[in-house]
C-alpha cells in the first residue's frame, strides 16, 4: 500500500466505474475526491480564500460535467488535465457572467474590459503549494478543533457531507453548521492563502500536526461501521502529512515521527477487522496479516525523525507503535513500551495513555503491581478503566474481573464497545 497507490474506491465512484457504458474500468480510484481538493485549493490560492465557496462550486460543477460526458464518450486519456481545463472554462464563464463577482474580483486580476482566459497554474508544484497553504489556513486557531477536522475532510480530502457525518458520528446538520461557521470565519479573517510568518508559522505547524493526528485518530478509532471509510480517513491524513514533508522547518522531525506513527498503525488494518466488519483486538490478530511494507516505511521515517534534538509526543507514540509491530511477546518489548509510556505521560497526559501504561506495567512488572497502580488512576468514569481491571483480574480473580467488566458494560457508550465487553465477559465463563 502506498500513499498514492491504488486505494479502495468510494461508493459513488464505484457506480461510475461499474456503469456499463464505461468500457475501461481503470478510472483512477478517488480521482474526483483528490481532484476536488486540488481544484479548490488552486482556485482559492488564485482568487483568495474569501471565494472558497465559489471554488468548491466550480469543482463540483466540473465533476458534474465529467459525469455527463465520460460515460458516453469514454474517459479522457488524461482525466486530470480534462478536469482542469473544464474548471478553468467554468471559472472564465463565471467571471464573465456574474456581474457582481466580476466587479468584486476581476479588477484585482485583470484590469480593463477585455478579460482573457484566467491564467490558472495547474502545475504539480503549484497544486502542492496550494494544498499546503490551504492546510495551514484551515488549521487557524480561530477555528475550533472539531471544525478544523470537518473542514480538512471537506476541502482537503474532498469528503461529502454524508461521509464526514458518518466518519465523525455526527448528523449532517451539525456538520453543515460547523462547516458554514468555519467558512464564514475563514472568509472574514483572511483574504489570501499566504503562510503565517516566522514564529506564527512554527506555531501554526504545531496546530497542523495536531489536526492531522486527530484526523488520523478519527479514522483509526472511529466507531463508524464503515471500514473502508475509516481507512480512507487514515490514508488522507497520511497523504497530507506526507505533503508536509516538503516543508522545511524545525518541526520536520515531528512530521516524520507522526508519519511513522501512522505507518505503524495502518500496518494492522488488514488484521483489525473480521469479514463482518467487527473489530479484532490486538492480541487476537493474525500477525501474518500485518503489512510489512508499511512497517518498514514506518521504521524508515522513525529513523529520519531521530535526526534532531526534538522529542515530541509523536516520537514517543511512534516508538510505542513500533514496539507493537513486533510480533513476539518479549520482556524487552514490554519494558520498552512501559518506559515510553512513562515518558509520554510526563509530556502529554491522557487517560488512555495512563491506562495503556498500566497494562504495560502488568506485562513488564506483574499483574499485582499493576492492579495497585490502576487503583490510583481515578478514572472510574471511563469504561476502558474497567476493561483494564477486567483484564488485570482475569487470571488472578475471575469474579472481580467479571464485576469490573459488568461496570464497563454499564458505562460503555456505543454498541461496538458493548459488543467487545460482552465478548470478554463470555470468555470468562
Amino acid at each position: 500500500m502506498k500513499f498514492d497507490g491504488p486505494l479502495p474506491v468510494t461508493r459513488w465512484q464505484r457506480t461510475i466505474v461499474n456503469s456499463p457504458s464505461v468500457e475501461q474500468a481503470d478510472l483512477i480510484p478517488h480521482l474526483f475526491r483528490t481532484e476536488f481538493s486540488k481544484i479548490t485549493a488552486v482556485l482559492c490560492k488564485h482568487f483568495g480564500l474569501h471565494q472558497i465557496e465559489v471554488a468548491e462550486d466550480i469543482a463540483g460543477d466540473t465533476f458534474a460535467a465529467a459525469l455527463e460526458t465520460w460515460p458516453h464518450r469514454g474517459i479522457p486519456a488524461n482525466p486530470s488535465a480534462w478536469l482542469y481545463t473544464v474548471a478553468k472554462n467554468k471559472t472564465k464563464n463565471l467571471l464573465q457572467r456574474d456581474q457582481l463577482f466580476t466587479n468584486k474580483i476581476a479588477p484585482q486580476l485583470q484590469p480593463g474590459p477585455e478579460r482573457p482566459d484566467p491564467d490558472i497554474d495547474w502545475s504539480e508544484a503549484n497544486i502542492q503549494d496550494s494544498q499546503l497553504r490551504m492546510l495551514f489556513a484551515i488549521c487557524d486557531p480561530v477555528i475550533p478543533q472539531e471544525a478544523q477536522i470537518a473542514l480538512a475532510l471537506r476541502i482537503l480530502c474532498g469528503f461529502g457531507i454524508d461521509e464526514i457525518a458518518n466518519a465523525l458520528l455526527a448528523n449532517k446538520d451539525t456538520i453543515n453548521k460547523r462547516l458554514y461557521r468555519a467558512r464564514e470565519k475563514l472568509r472574514r479573517e483572511k483574504k489570501d492563502l499566504s503562510f503565517p510568518e516566522n514564529e506564527d508559522l512554527e506555531q501554526r505547524l504545531a496546530t497542523v500536526l495536531t489536526t492531522l493526528y486527530l484526523l488520523f485518530s478519527e479514522g483509526y478509532y472511529s466507531e463508524s461501521r464503515e471500514a473502508i471509510l475509516r481507512e480512507d480517513l487514515c490514508l488522507e491524513a497520511m497523504r497530507l502529512t506526507y505533503l508536509l514533508l516538503a516543508f522545511d522547518s524545525p518541526h520536520r522531525p515531528s512530521v516524520m515521527a507522526l508519519l511513522a506513527l501512522m505507518c505503524f498503525h495502518s500496518s494492522r488494518f488488514p488484521a483489525r477487522k473480521q469479514a463482518n466488519g467487527a473489530m479484532v483486538l490486538y492480541e487476537d490478530q493474525d500477525r501474518s496479516l500485518w503489512n510489512q511494507e508499511l512497517i518498514s516505511r514506518g521504521v524508515h521515517y522513525l529513523r529520519e525523525a531521530s535526526g534532531g534534538h526534538q522529542l515530541s509526543k509523536y516520537h514517543i507514540e511512534a516508538n510505542i507503535a513500533y514496539w507493537h509491530t513486533r510480533p513476539e511477546e518479549s520482556p524487552e518489548k514490554w519494558e520498552n513500551i512501559l518506559q515510553l509510556y512513562n515518558r509520554l505521560l510526563q509530556i502529554a497526559y491522557s487517560p488512555i495513555a495512563a491506562l495503556n501504561r498500566t497494562f504495560a506495567l502488568a506485562k513488564a512488572r506483574g499483574y499485582d503491581l499493576a492492579i495497585r497502580e490502576a487503583e490510583k488512576l481515578q478514572l472510574e468514569q471511563n469504561h476502558f478503566y474497567f476493561v483494564l481491571l477486567g483484564e488485570l483480574y482475569r487470571e488472578l480473580e475471575p469474579l472481580k474481573a467479571k464485576e469490573a467488566l459488568q461496570r464497563a458494560l454499564d458505562l460503555a457508550g456505543t454498541d461496538a464497545d458493548r459488543e467487545l465487553i460482552s465478548r470478554k465477559i463470555d470468555q470468562l465463563g
Partner: protein, 117 residues
Amino acid sequence: MDEFMLIFRHEDGSKQASPEQMQQWMKQTMDWIGSIAAQNKFVGSNGLPFDDARVVWPDNVVTNGPFGDIKETIGGYIMVRAESVEEAVEFAKGSPVLQGPGNSVEVRKIAKQDGTH
C-alpha cells in the same frame, strides 16, 4: 489542587554506585515518575548533576561542588500536583531515593503566583 516540590536529599553525593545499581535506580525512578504522571499529577522534574557544581560563599569565595563542606546534597527534584501535603507525602514515600541510607525527600509546597492562597 496545590503544587508541591519533592526535593531529593542525598547524604553523600560523592558515593559511587555500580553501573548495574545505577541502571536499576534509573528504571525505578522512571516507573515512579510514570506512576505519578499516570495519575495526571506530574508537573515537572529535573536531576541536578554534580558536574559543574559550585558553591558561592561571601567575599567571592567559590568552591567546587557542594561536597565535603556540606553533609547533605540535593540530587534533583520533582514537582507534583496534590490535594494535600499528605498526598504529596504519599508520592514521596515511593521515591527510590529513599533506598539509599541516610537519604531523604523533602516535601515543600510551591507558593502560588497570585499570592492569595
